[in-house]
């Protein structure tokens, strides 16, 4: 028994005669840090001596001083390698032999402060020390500025825990296995991990356990049934123990069953067999057989066995993977199930149990009804195995014919059939390795008929589309709702839903449905003949959105007061919501009121605007009226749905016309058109006009002068007849400049011909180019000058034979003509010097057959021999007339062009 007080500790005990007393005591302060003293006294403790007794005197103090044996290290720290439990209080001290004050002490690098006991000794109390590492906590003291170092390692052990969950069991009634939870490991460098000892009180046996958490105990052969075990955990600092008392047969934990196998596995049943390790003699085990499918226990059976177990599992699904597992327990006294043993197995396949869900889509291809057949894959429950192929049997209902059978390998889920106008019954069956499924029958009429029905609308909700319909006939055997999962512009992934005959509504839901996409639903009624008739069409949006784009507006019919807007290309079907109408925005010029059909509104950017609402989505034109002439307007058209209108785009500017411009346009344009027509006509008929209005050589017969002459009855003035003159030749010398000459016969300009030399012109055929009988023609032209007639005579212009016909010169100017005549008279018979002649001659030939040049005969009139022609020319009055000579008697005025000899 010990007792503490601030001054020291007292220890009291009873001693007996001849017995040596040992008192082991541990000072809180290490002995090396301070001298310790002890003294003792005694008193008689005997019943025969009346109490109270008397204490003896104290003995003298005995000193225990460890400082003398410390060695010569300059700085020492104590206690060395002390082992304590976590949470203890520890006093350490240092002894310095260098007697300096600058000594600091640290616990794991953190400075600690203590009490100086004397000049060279200081003590530090570490409270509630904690476990840091197995290699101990470093405490050291050192003289500052790199001096001596002293230190200790304080080994702080975790507190030894009482073993938890201590239990013992046997698998074979021969060996007991005791297990427990050891808790924290208290092992340190200074201290090994705690040890465990198993002690059985009835037998008095004990065993040192080799493992931290379990220990085996051999069951005695003497049929000991009851056991009282004590487990003792121990380390250097502490012992902990825990006990259990049990009956051996109540602690039987059978070993795991083995050899679990399926036997005679069919499509819907299988037999499981397994074995167990025997326990003792003739012991019975209760085994539990569990059947799992997809991780869930679907069957559980208890079977009592001795060694071999067997159980028939039934009600299994074909072609399904199952897991069977077995565990067993001791039947006499249930203690624990054994560990489980598991085994996978697959049931055999069976024929598909359900007909495939078939639907069709009909269309006309090249005039033939084409049926696209779709079917859904059978669920695993109904497929009963791997579907290998689908059989499609087509039977003509209108006329007996051979059945057409198509075998379509899985996993194809559609096919296309081209039929004629007959009705067909189509059977579809799914086949696995065992056999076919029941047939799915659908009847298709060759004449699809007019299945157009009115479209309705359907509202979308979070759950999908709630579609309802009205039955038409009472003999419907079912309904099918058909739709496409994707938007309209994508290829249709045809979906359908079969519904019973008494159903008139359903909710169509799909993960593919998206907001702002228009979905079209068709409801078909399936008749008793298995034919489908379109019942209703519905369209809807899962969630309507505002239009994403605005109509492309075309402006037309612009006047001073109105213009027309149209957006006929805007498709209301492909919008993200049902188009309810359109808003026409108009920005009038500043200060102007809105037109009557518009109302004022404020745009999002806070600008005022006029707005007209069209509540008919099919009205795609609008006339903006009552506008001011010559004014700038801005317009913008947007569609709206129940959610809102389209995005606010840029306005389009337009300026109305002024008030009179349209009138001007109505007058000026026709006038310009008429003038243009006249001009075109004039251009096309200019020759005719020329003939009529300003001919080059007027027709003497048509001349007004003629009538004048006739009226005066002047017998001397007559029109020359062609027979009156004998044709002759006229020689004309052209001047070298590129002048123009008009050929009367051809009316061709010879401007192309540049004359660089004086040239002679054959006006009448010479011996070479004319073979007529007489070379003499006379001219008379009353239209030029009346005076000229007075001097009329048949002038002879000799033509130089050497002059080629193409060297003809212009004969246009009267002056030139006069000169030419002058020269002619002065130099007869071609004696005109080249380069000096400058004669222009204009003549007209009056044909006796026709006065119109255009109607001249193709064979020109041959001049009669020695006919008299009168030359008409402008001649000065003083010019003497030359007497006719042989060479220059009469002149011919015929111009010979290329390829044309006469005119």
């Amino acid at each position: 028994m010990s007792q503490e007080d601030p001054a020291g500790e007292n220890y009291r005990t009873t001693v007996k005669r001849n017995r040596v007393l040992h008192w082991s005591w541990e000072s809180k302060l290490p002995l090396e840090c301070a001298a310790h003293f002890i003294r003792m006294r005694s008193m008689v403790d005997d019943a025969r001596i009346p109490k109270p007794g008397f204490w003896s005197n104290w003995s003298s103090w005995e000193e225990a001083d460890a400082q003398n044996s410390l060695g010569h290290d300059p700085l020492l720290v104590f206690p060395k390698d002390k082992l304590v439990e976590e949470g203890s209080n520890v006093t350490i001290c240092y002894v310095s032999r260098i007697h300096r004050d600058n000594i600091s002490c640290y616990l794991e690098g953190v400075q600690i402060y203590g009490e100086q006991l004397d000049r060279s000794v200081s003590a530090f109390e570490l409270k509630n020390v904690s476990f840091i590492r197995k290699r101990g906590t470093n405490v050291f003291c050192k003289v500052d500025q790199g001096g001596a170092l002293g230190g200790i390692v304080l080994f702080v052990s975790k507190v030894l825990e009482e073993p938890k969950d201590f239990s013992c069991e046997t698998q074979d009634l021969k060996t007991l296995t005791c297990t427990w939870d050891p808790g924290s490991d208290t092992g340190l460098s200074k201290q090994p991990s705690q040890s465990y000892t198993l002690f059985e009180s009835f037998s008095g046996k004990k065993t040192l356990c080799k493992h931290r958490n379990w220990c085996n105990w051999q069951v005695a052969q003497d049929s000991q049934e009851t056991y009282n075990f004590t487990l003792v955990a121990e380390n250097y600092l502490r012992k902990r123990s825990v006990s259990i008392l049990f009956n051996l047969t109540q602690r039987v934990h059978p070993m795991t069953p083995y050899n679990l196998f399926p036997k005679n596995v069919g499509a819907t049943n299988a037999t499981m067999t397994w074995k167990v390790h025997s326990i003792g003699n003739n012991s019975t085990l209760l085994c539990q057989l569990e059947l799992l499918a997809e991780g869930k226990v679907i069957q559980q059976h208890n079977v009592s066995i001795k060694v071999n177990g067997e159980y028939l599992l039934s009600e299994l699904e074909p072609d399904t993977e199952y897991v069977a597992r077995v565990r067993c327990a001791y039947t006499n006294h249930f203690w624990k199930w054994s560990e489980l043993i598991s085994q996978k197995f697959n049931t055999a396949e069976a024929a598909p149990s359900e007909a495939p869900d078939v639907w069709r889509n009909m269309k006309m291809v090249s005039g033939h009804p084409t049926v696209s057949l779709f079917w859904k894959p059978l669920s695993k429950v109904h497929a009963n195995g791997k579907i290998l192929f689908y059989n499609v049997i087509v039977e003509n209902l209108d006329k007996p014919s051979r059945l057409e059978v198509l075998s379509i390998p899985a996993p194809t889920r559609s096919t296309e059939l081209t039929l004629d106008q007959c009705s067909y019954q189509i059977h579809v069956t799914a086949h696995n390795s065992v056999g076919p499924s029941p047939a799915s029958v659908i009847v298709i009429s060759g004449d699809p008929g007019n299945e157009e029905v009115e479209s309705g609308r359907v509202n979308g909700t979070e759950d999908g589309f709630s579609v309802s319909w009205k039955p038409q006939s009472g003999d419907a055997t079912g309904y099918v709702v058909e739709w496409c999962d994707g938007p309209q512009d994508l290829p249709c992934a045809l979906q359908w839903k079969n519904l019973g005959p008494n159903t008139t509504s359903t909710v169509i839901s799909s993960g593919a449905f998206r907001p702002g996409v228009r979905y079209n639903f068709r409801i078909y009624e399936i008749s008793a003949k298995r034919m489908a008739h379109l019942l209703e069409k519905k369209a809807g949006y899962l969630e309507e959105l505002a239009p994403s784009d605005n109509p492309q507006v075309v402006m037309s019919n612009l006047t001073s007061h109105s213009f027309t807007l149209s957006w006929k290309d805007y498709s209301t079907e492909s919008q993200p919501g049902f188009i309810q109408g359109y808003h026409v925005y108009l920005k009038p010029k500043a200060g102007e009121q809105c037109p009557p059909a518009f109302e004022k509104t404020v745009l999002p950017e806070d600008s005022l605007c006029c707005k007209h609402t069209i509540d008919n989505p099919e009205q795609k034109t609008f006339v903006v009226e009552n506008l001011q002439p010559e004014s700038v307007y801005e317009f913008f058209v947007t569609a709206y749905t129940s959610v809102g209108e389209g995005p606010l785009d840029a306005f389009t500017k337009i300026t109305t016309l002024d008030e009179y411009s349209h009138i001007l346009i109505r007058i000026i344009l026709p006038m310009i058109f008429c003038v243009l027509i006249v001009m075109i006509i004039c251009y096309l008929k200019h020759q005719w006009l020329k003939e009529k209005c300003y001919p080059d050589i007027p027709d003497p017969y048509k001349s007004s002068v003629l009538s004048l002459i006739k009226s005066k009855e002047n017998p001397h003035l007559t029109i020359m007849n062609i027979n009156d003159c004998v044709p002759d030749a006229i020689e004309v010398i052209n001047k070298p400049e590129g002048s123009k000459i008009q050929f009367l016969g051809t009316r061709k300009s010879l401007t192309e011909t540049e004359f660089t030399k004086p040239a002679y012109i054959y006006l009448l055929p010479t011996e070479k180019n004319y073979s007529g009988p007489g070379p003499c023609i006379c001219f008379e032209n009353f239209t030029y000058n009346q005076a000229a007639s007075d001097f009329a005579s048949c002038g002879h212009f000799p033509v130089t034979p050497q002059a080629p016909p193409h060297q003809l010169g212009p004969l246009t100017s009267p002056e030139n003509l006069l000169k030419a005549l002058e020269q002619n008279y002065m130099n007869s018979l071609g004696e005109i010097p080249a380069g000096e002649a400058n004669l222009n001659y204009v003549s007209q030939l009056a044909s006796s057959t026709s006065g119109d040049k255009d109607s001249l005969p193709t064979n020109p009139p041959e001049p009669a021999l020695c006919s008299e022609y009168k030359m008409q020319m402008v001649i000065p009055l003083g010019l003497a007339s030359a007497p006719p000579s042989e060479n220059s008697s009469l002149s011919s005025t015929t111009l010979l062009g290329q390829g044309e000899h006469y005119r």
Binding site: R135, T137, N138, G151
Partner: protein, 246 residues
């Protein structure tokens, strides 16, 4: 730092196993230069404090200010670099072998404190000693007439480990011993590197020694101490015939 150590550990394992396999097959490399290069690389690996000293300091809790500074090499615990240079090649190898034998023995005592690292370093040392043996054979075959030379005394203050007086002193001593070991291996690496340089000098007669690319000496674990580069005794006779550079 920790990640770096983690990266180095597998490398040391691989090299250790490589060296071990070489020792196990008891086949020595017949080529002097390859063997020398291997020895150098092994020395570089073994001077790396992350293989032994750093884990020890960390595990023992000596990585605190005030204690780190006291984990210094004990003078005289291992042969100095100068002393190693002063030895002939055979003497150097013998000294190296003996010192590493003592280190191995001491490391065995440290097993409780540093079980994993001790095991790896033990493998390295055994592989290194195997190569020392091979080099010794190679040198001996080239110079049968070499006079025996006394072995440089191994680490004097590394007698068989005695039970430590207290755990704190034991920690510090072991720490100093490990630092001394790494320093020693650094010196060994330097000396081995000069073996190659001596060959280059003997051939080219140049003033400054050249190092082969990639054959740079890693920074050593020892602080201070100027390293003389060339006090080594030339002993060209020790070069094995047929393998020496000409």
């Amino acid at each position: 730092m920790r990640a770096q150590r983690m990266r180095r550990t597998p490398l040391s394992v691989i090299l250790g196993l490589l060296f071990l396999s070489m020792a196990a097959t008891s086949k020595c490399l017949g080529k002097y230069h390859e063997l020398l290069l291997q020895l150098r690389r092994q020395a570089d690996l073994m001077q790396d404090t992350s293989t032994l000293l750093d884990p020890y300091i960390r595990i023992q809790g000596l990585d605190t200010p005030g204690l780190k500074e006291h984990c210094r090499e004990c003078p005289g615990a291992f042969p100095s670099e100068d002393a190693l240079r002063g030895l002939s090649r055979q003497g150097f190898l013998r000294t190296l072998n003996a010192t590493l034998g003592l280190v191995l023995h001491r490391l065995t005592a440290l097993y409780q404190d540093l079980p994993e690292a001790q095991q790896l370093v033990g493998l390295n040392i055994r592989g290194f000693r195997s190569n020392i043996h091979c080099m010794s054979l190679l040198l001996r075959s080239s110079s049968e007439a070499e006079t025996p030379e006394p072995t440089q005394p191994g680490p004097g203050p590394t007698p068989p480990p005695t039970p430590p007086s207290d755990a704190f002193q034991h920690k510090l001593k072991s720490c100093r011993f490990l630092r001394g070991y790494h320093c020693f291996m650094h010196s060994v690496g330097q000396v081995l590197r000069e073996w190659g340089e001596s060959r280059s000098r003997s051939r080219s007669r140049r003033h400054s020694p050249r190092r082969a690319p990639g054959d740079t000496a890693p920074s050593g674990p020892c602080r201070g101490g100027a390293r003389r580069m060339w006090p080594f005794r030339r002993d060209r006779r020790l070069m094995p015939r047929g393998h020496l550079p000409r």
